[in-house]
């Protein structure tokens, strides 16, 4: 379980996130939604240890994230994130990008160098190829990612994050910039990550319709505060949400 306890984040005079608590259950898909400026990304940055929140704690896998280095957030607390804009290592191939997360623990000079085909190395390559296969990227495994399409790059980025073996994978607007059919396909793949591979997801999305179909639990933010929380069905009927976010028809 990923527990967010009373997070507030203040930038000068602006309180971007105001005392938000939430729990994301293991084995589930949790979505945080809200309009522009609702504090989604700020909250997300606090959750993934990217910002140090003004107050509050985030706890995952028995670790308080604010006390960990970036590498330990991924390695010990096992929380891995992606960004809204794609941050792949452009000159590296798709496979190299994924392998990087796969082999993060080893700073290998000799083993890999002398016995270029150690069993451990082969196993890592196999797992990395497995993730690429899951996203239908095997045929571009050896292509530098800079040459891939935007949709493919997005998938490589998620495959790479998965290779770091997170308990919680946090995705910041994974469908941003994708067309409706690509977006739908990606949501199916994300659902499979949790349902079949057991990796819990925490998603940020501004387009509620994208996540409605796959989320177990939805948290709605408005002006940095939690407006509502519940199952997709609850959220759809919540009068506050309808007023503030979906917009009344009148």
């Amino acid at each position: 379980m990923l527990r967010v306890e009373n997070i507030s984040m203040r930038f000068g005079g602006l309180l971007a996130v105001d005392n938000v608590s939430l729990e994301a259950q293991t084995g589930q898909i949790t979505a945080v939604i809200g309009g522009n400026g609702a504090g989604k990304t700020t909250l997300f940055n606090c959750i993934t240890g990217f910002y140090r929140p003004t107050t509050g704690n985030v706890i995952c896998n028995g670790y308080t994230l604010s006390a960990l280095s970036r590498a330990d957030i991924a390695g010990r607390a096992r929380v891995v994130r992606t960004f809204q804009n794609i941050r792949l290592f452009a000159p590296l191939t798709a496979l190299e990008n994924v392998l990087l997360a796969e082999q993060r623990r080893r700073l290998d000079f000799l083993g890999n160098f002398l016995g270029l085909r150690t069993r451990e190395h082969l196993a890592a390559v196999e797992r990395a190829r497995g993730w690429l296969h899951y996203f239908g990227l095997l045929d571009v495994a050896d292509t530098p990612v800079a040459a891939l399409s935007y949709g493919q790059q997005r998938k490589v980025e998620i495959a790479r994050a998965l290779a770091a073996e997170p308990i919680f994978l946090c995705l910041d607007e994974p469908a941003a910039g994708l067309n409706p059919s690509e977006s739908l396909e990606l949501m199916h793949l994300l659902e499979g990550i949790t349902r079949e591979h057991g990796v819990s997801l925490l998603l940020i999305e501004h387009d509620m319709s994208v996540v409605m179909g796959i989320s177990d639990r939805i948290i709605v933010l408005e002006y940095g505060r939690k407006l509502a929380e519940g199952t997709p069905a609850d959220i759809r009927q919540n009068p506050d949400v309808i007023r503030a976010y979906l917009g009344a028809d009148d």
Binding site: A71, A74, V80, R87, P91, L92, L100, Q103, D108, F109
Partner: protein
């Protein structure tokens, strides 16, 4: 055929000498380029790391020759000692001088690098005295390939081992998981950290690797010229830096090619025109290249992000 063409023999001899010098510059230049590509820092203390490598090699050769070991064994032990100890110095330098300044203004580590360079130079002077250290006769065999064309055992070693090292190094960066991590940190250290890569370890390893290459270069210089002194890091460091910029700083093949170009230009200049201005020539070539191609031979033009 060579007997009848003294000009060709002379040219070949200069070429051989130039490649030897160029390999040494290339090895040092790699250290500049690697550190620059990962930290955006010109490590001006790198020339001193090279000088320390030369001193360690001098002490090691003297010590092991004293034991009456065979020359091959002395060489092996000397390289091992120089590489291990000098990498340790590189590691310590990064740890003490640069890591605490991570995230500080760009100028701060730059000034620190100059300070570290002065400190290391003076420390070695205090430790080993200000007189140059000359090596007793060691590895002075020469082979005459043709009448007039001579290659020394040291040159063979430098060209052979230096070339091998450059190939191994390229493989290390392009084929191993360490190399992959190094390239990733170079691209986007923040994202690499978020994927669980220990960025500081990769940086430490980069410094150690650069120092190890500099130690090999220092040992080569000791064997080639038979002498080390505590100021030798300054000029060699400046020239290797020029070589790295010439090739395109941050580019590893660029550093090697830049080193070779500089070594060859200097040697041919000295061989055909005269030893005057030999040291200035490298910088003249640098100025020319930068005028015509500011990013260096292999560098990518810097794109201003808006």
């Amino acid at each position: 055929m060579f007997e009848h063409a003294p000009a060709l023999v002379y040219f070949s001899q200069q070429l051989l000498n130039g490649l030897t010098l160029g390999a040494i510059y290339g090895l040092i230049a790699l250290g500049y380029s690697m550190v620059f590509s990962i930290l955006g820092l010109i490590n001006f203390a790198h020339g001193e790391i090279f000088m320390i490598g030369g001193y360690i090699a001098f002490l090691a050769v003297t010590l092991f020759l004293g034991f009456g070991l065979s020359p091959a064994l002395v060489l092996l032990l000397t390289f091992t000692a120089a590489i291990i100890i000098t990498s340790g110095v590189g590691f310590t330098l990064e740890r003490i001088c640069y890591r605490p300044l991570r995230g500080a203004a760009k100028l701060a580590p730059f000034i620190t690098a100059i300070g570290a360079s002065i400190f290391l130079q003076n420390a070695v002077q205090l430790w080993q005295g200000s007189q140059p250290k000359a090596l007793a006769q060691f590895l002075t065999t020469q082979y005459e390939l043709f009448p007039g064309l001579v290659i020394s055992a040291t040159q063979l070693l430098i060209l052979g081992a230096g070339g091998l090292l450059l190939v191994l190094f390229t493989l290390l960066i392009n084929k191993t998981s360490f190399g992959r991590q190094q390239r990733a940190v170079q691209q986007d250290a923040l994202m690499a950290g978020l994927l669980g890569i220990h960025v500081n370890r990769v940086i430490s390893a980069t410094f150690m690797l650069g120092a190890a290459l500099a130690a090999v270069a220092g040992t080569f210089v000791l064997l080639y010229y038979g002498v080390v002194d505590f100021t030798m890091g300054y000029l060699a460091g400046m020239k290797a830096f020029a070589a790295a910029v010439l090739g395109g700083i941050g580019s590893l093949p660029g550093a090697i090619v830049g080193g070779l170009i500089l070594g060859l230009t200097e040697t041919f200049w000295a061989g055909y025109i005269g030893a005057d201005y030999k040291h200035a020539l490298g910088f003249f070539v640098l100025i020319l290249v930068l005028l015509l191609r500011p990013q260096g031979l292999f560098g990518k033009p810097e794109v201003e992000k808006v």
